[in-house]
């Protein structure tokens, strides 16, 4: 395959329509006779439903139907659950896993503010909301579990009585003899670090439109989801329909970040409403609903210890983790085990002992969000590494140099399995080289010199480092169909839908090169179950590797068939046929060229003869990806802190990263920029706050603060390329990485800036009042300890 497009900074082909406002999102789906849904949601964090009265609402103006649990009971199967323990993992780690099924409409008990109790369908959304106010629900409030540490220990107050406790996931793992290594070490540092609850917050909220076709007994639903095939499976199970009668389409989707990869009540309720009303129904999640009821993320407490020699060589890590999973354990072992598998990252650590508990609380169910356990693990690890450096009086960069793995160490196996049950073996990379590249880019020595000079003038600057190694591209597969039309133009269909990742460009680059056609001959279709019968979806930095490999292999098959057909036409051997820019020709004889439309036409049967090959130039490949590829990066943040106000200003942000072979550097940088922006949000601004009663205090974007362009510096990136041996293109995933390190890097930088005050950063986000309180312990006088 020639590399005409692969690796080039091709402009994103989807951008013109987005920039012109010509995208088509779920809310742009307008159908004749459309009804609109709104929901009555629980105002209580935990309550028993005593009675539901809907008659006043049902009689209100413009109302088509009011549906409570009893009205839709026949369709109420438990919502889909994810994250069962795969056999390879079960064989090596003893995991206790409990998952409580959530019903789309609450039946007896509500377990978080925002859980749906009643659905109202009306002529307009406004009328539906008016009618919601007329629905009367009698609740018997129950005590709420909000603090995950309390939930972990509670035995009297249970979210799911049949469990006997609130611990949904529990396991211990590790290798070596951490207890002994810790007992014998020169130095031991230990801290409790807390990562707050924060969320993906896509620009486009969720949304569902459903149309029931009584003629065919078929359902079509448009859903702003990352996982159309999972949504289809859930609908088939609940509605008792075969997959070909349920078509799920994710049109343009304005950001997913994991938030849109969960199974949600509305995925089922809107189709149910369309069936019940015999009219199409639309629901567009408003921002208030999104804040209160779309998946939340993060929220972990780490009691972590790091043992080392006097020279800074790491000996052992021990970590006890409690994570808040919200009200239902939707995602099984995904978040707990991801956290543990990514704790050590780029460091060589001979002994590891981890205990992990995932607990349920009266909050919105958690789901993986860009990084999915990795930002939390990296925060704990990189913070304790900096605490060790400070305890030993060593530069944090020097400590990392001593402990980072380099190319000579790879492949490198951690003696625990990965989440998919396969051995956890870093496939390629050079983390030490990444560290040096990042330090060079920021000018580390110069920054340190300047820091000392500025401190003398009362200006407090700090530099913080964080590195991660990230399992990306989790399998087990994604598929692609490559099909030529009679003109030789290609349609590439895949189950990996795009929420802004640029698949229409990057997957087309792969297909165009593999087929030998111009880029604009390729149309990529994602997010439509009618286009390909099997799919997993886009999440976990998986689409480039999984779908990209399938596109490559399928396009090669189509090309081989084209070469056979062209060989007959050109009177040459197939091996001598070359295809480039949409023309087939005998290698070395460019004047022999014929365009692909003619090659395809010539394959059609005539009255005289069958064609040389059948005219279906189409192939489908389901690339098998048994385990992950390992992306890595080192982030360096430079901050300035105003000690009098606690204001943190982010001055520079450097990322040196390896994501294997790069399909499109513009798209890779865009992914990094977006990820870093969300990570900066986690470091400085974003937190979902509940009060003791389980009421959400950050219910609007006035209270829950996402970073804007004004809060971000230019992000400087350095590309390192260590191809993965685990797929034919050598690529690794890059979707999440940017979001992993900023909380750790920025927290380290803030602590470094405030080193003269002797502060320890234990929690994010680092808002001004939080930072000022660090400097000024209650009642104490502020001032550097000189």
């Amino acid at each position: 395959m020639g590399a005409r497009y692969f690796g080039a900074a091709v402009r994103r082909r989807e951008d013109p329509r987005f920039l012109r406002g010509e995208g088509r999102y779920v809310d742009d789906v307008k159908l004749p006779g459309l009804l609109h849904a709104a929901f009555v949601r629980s105002p209580h964090a935990h309550a028993r439903i005593r009675a539901v009265r809907t008659d006043r609402a049902a009689g209100a103006a413009g109302v088509a139907r009011v549906l409570a649990f009893a009205d839709v009971a026949r369709w109420m199967r438990p919502l889909p659950l994810f994250g069962a323990v795969p056999p390879g993992l079960a064989a090596r780690v003893n995991v206790t896993l409990k998952q409580a099924p959530q019903l789309a409409l609450a039946r007896d008990v509500v377990r978080y503010v925002g859980e749906i109790v009643v659905m109202v369908v009306a002529d307009s959304r406004a009328l539906a909301e008016d009618a919601c106010e007329l629905v009367e629900v009698e609740y018997e409030p129950l005590p709420a579990l909000v603090d995950p540490l309390a939930a972990a220990e509670a035995s009297d107050l249970l979210l799911h009585a049949e469990w006997g406790d609130n611990v949904a996931v529990r396991f211990a793992t590790g290798f070596g003899d951490a207890a002994r290594a810790i007992a014998e070490a020169d130095v031991l540092v230990r801290e409790r670090f807390e990562i707050q609850r924060y969320v993906g917050m896509p620009l486009e909220t969720r949304g569902v439109v459903a149309r029931w076709d009584p003629r065919d007994g078929a359902l079509t639903t448009w859903n702003g989801t990352q996982v159309v095939h999972f949504v289809q499976q859930g609908l088939c199970a609940a509605l008792g329909l075969p997959p070909h009668k349920v078509r799920v389409i994710a049109p343009d989707v304005g950001g997913g970040f994991g938030t849109k990869a969960s199974g949600y009540p509305e995925d089922l309720l809107i189709p149910v409403a369309a069936i019940a009303c015999r009219r199409p129904v639309k629901w567009i999640e408003d921002r208030r609903e999104h804040m209160a009821a779309a998946a939340h993320a993060r929220g972990q407490v780490h009691d972590i210890e790091l043992a080392a020699r006097r020279d800074g060589t790491f000996l052992a890590v021990r970590d006890r983790i409690v994570m808040d999973l919200g009200a239902y354990n939707v995602w099984g072992i995904v978040l707990p085990y991801n956290t543990v598998a990514h704790l050590l990252g780029p460091h060589r650590v001979p002994h590891l002992a981890v205990e992990c508990r995932g607990v349920v609380t009266n909050k919105v169910p958690n789901a993986p969000y860009r990084g999915a356990g990795r930002p939390e693990a990296v925060f704990a690890m990189d913070r304790i590494v900096d605490r060790l450096a400070r305890a030993l009086g060593l530069d944090p960069a020097a400590v990392r140099r001593r402990n980072y793995l380099s190319a000579a160490d790879l492949p490198y196996e951690l003696a625990i399995p990965y989440r998919d049950g396969n051995p956890l073996v870093y496939d390629s990379g050079d983390f030490r080289a990444g560290l040096e590249a990042a330090l060079d880019a920021v000018g580390y020595e110069a920054v340190r010199g300047e820091q000392a000079e500025l401190r003398r003038r009362g200006v407090y600057r700090g530099v913080g480092i964080s590195g991660y190694v990230e399992g990306t591209a989790i399998g087990p597969y994604e598929g692609a169909t490559v099909r030529l039309d009679p003109a030789g133009r290609a349609v590439v269909a895949t189950g990996a839908c795009s929420q802004g990742q640029g698949h229409e460009t990057s997957l087309a680059q792969i297909a165009a090169d593999a087929l030998g056609v111009p880029l604009d001959w390729v149309t990529v279709v994602g997010g439509d179950t009618a286009a390909i019968p099997f799919g997993v979806g886009t999440f976990a930095s998986r689409s480039a590797v999984n779908a990209g490999s399938s596109v490559l292999l399928a396009a090669r098959r189509v090309r081989d068939k084209l070469a056979q057909a062209a060989a007959r036409l050109l009177e040459a051997a197939p091996a001598d046929v070359d295809i480039d820019e949409g023309m087939a020709f005998v290698r070395g004889a460019p004047s022999s060229r014929v365009d692909l439309a003619r090659v395809i036409q010539a394959a059609l049967p005539t009255f005289a003869a069958a064609g040389p090959v059948t005219p279906d130039f189409e192939a489908t490949v389901y690339h098998h990806q048994p385990t992950v590829t390992y992306t890595s990066a080192v982030h360096v943040a430079l901050v300035e802190v105003d000690p009098a106000t606690g204001v943190v200003r982010l001055l520079r942000y450097v990322v040196a990263h390896d994501c294997g072979t790069v399909i499109n550097p513009t798209i890779v940088e865009g992914q990094i920029h977006g990820g870093v922006a969300q990570g900066v949000g986690g470091a400085l601004l974003e937190e979902m706050v509940y009060d003791e009663a389980g009421q959400l205090l950050t219910g609007t974007l006035m209270d829950y603060l996402v970073p804007t362009a004004m809060e971000l510096p230019a992000i400087e990136t350095v590309h390192l390329t260590y191809p993965s041996p685990r797929n034919p293109l050598g690529i690794k995933g890059i979707g999440e990485g940017g979001a992993i390190s900023p909380p750790a890097a920025i927290a380290n930088a803030v602590e470094d800036a405030l080193a003269p005050f002797g502060v320890t950063v234990r929690r994010t986000p680092l808002g001004p009042a939080v930072v000022e309180a660090l400097i000024r312990p209650a009642g104490g006088a502020a001032g550097p300890r000189t």
């Binding site: 208030r288 106000t645 606690g646 603060l705 804007t708 004004m710 808002g767 001004p768």
Partner: protein, 290 residues
């Protein structure tokens, strides 16, 4: 987030607006730029029976400098005042740059921001420090001028009666030669401040403080003009020590409240820090020119 049902009335003149307001009183809400009202409507936190749109009363538009005062009509947008202030009134310019974002300032009105009375907003504190007032009218009682000092009663609460419409704001700008300072701590650019301070000073020929204004926002139920801080400076040479004392005295008199983003103590401490900075900047600008 759809508003509860309401009747919409577009007033095509001031007289019509006053007539509607007189008829509906508390049940009506005035819509000018809508940057505060519309979110409240959509969240159903405000449920007026009538939304009175005054954008048709074009006589309420306009910016008029007169008698050392700047008069700002009820339809004048924040962005219009920002443009006017650029190069003419640096304190106003700097303050307006931090009121929301450009898109908000293009729609939002100056008078709307003043009578919305968010205690963390910048403009109400500016009004106090510019000896400002709001001219109000009603169909029943005619016109009166409410000084800034008498306007603010509590969070989102003014002394305007239900049938009164704020038709104009008046600011008295700092005299030529005065120095000014403005500083706020906000979580993000364009957010309401956690705490903020603004000041201007005019020195007499001997270098003593002849006039002083020191204001705060985000420090309690209403914007604050600090008599204590100003009194500590008037008639004295504004040495760094004196400025610091004034800032501390001013902050000590504040009664800030805690919320999700900051404690009351944080606000009081940082109010002192910011007041010292704004006063120091003002002193510096008195001496070097604006």
């Amino acid at each position: 987030v759809k508003p509860a049902p309401f009747d919409y009335v577009l007033a095509r003149s001031l007289a019509e607006a006053l007539e509607v307001l007189g008829r509906h009183g508390e049940a009506a809400k005035v819509l000018a730029g809508g940057q505060s009202l519309v979110p409240l409507l959509n969240l159903r936190l405000a449920r007026p029976a009538v939304v009175l749109d005054i954008n048709g009363a074009t006589e309420l538009d306009g910016l008029t400098p007169a008698d050392g005062e700047l008069r700002v009509g009820a339809l004048a947008r924040l962005r219009g005042l920002e443009r006017w202030a650029t190069g003419r009134a640096p304190l106003l310019e700097e303050v307006l740059r931090l009121v929301g974002h450009p898109a908000i300032r293009v729609r939002g009105t100056v008078v709307g921001s003043l009578v919305h009375a968010d205690p963390a907003a910048e403009l109400p504190a500016l009004l106090l420090c510019c000896d400002g007032a709001v001219r109000v009218r009603s169909a029943a009682a005619g016109e009166r001028l409410v000084s800034g000092d008498a306007l603010y009663l509590g969070p989102l609460t003014t002394s305007l009666r239900a049938d009164e419409l704020a038709v104009e704001a008046r600011f008295r700008l700092p005299p030529p030669g005065a120095g000014w300072g403005f500083a706020e701590v906000a979580r993000r650019h364009g957010d309401f401040a956690l705490v903020g301070s603004l000041a201007w000073l005019a020195l007499d020929p001997e270098g003593r403080v002849g006039q002083a204004r020191l204001g705060f926002f985000g420090v309690g139920a209403t914007p604050v003009r600090s008599q204590a801080g100003e009194a500590a400076l008037i008639g004295r040479a504004p040495s760094p020590e004196r400025v610091r004392e004034a800032a501390r005295a001013a902050a000590a008199a504040l009664r800030p409240e805690a919320d999700l983003h900051a404690t009351a103590d944080y606000r009081r401490r940082v109010a002192a820090v910011l007041a010292e900075r704004t006063l120091s900047a003002a002193v510096c600008r008195c001496r070097s020119g604006p």
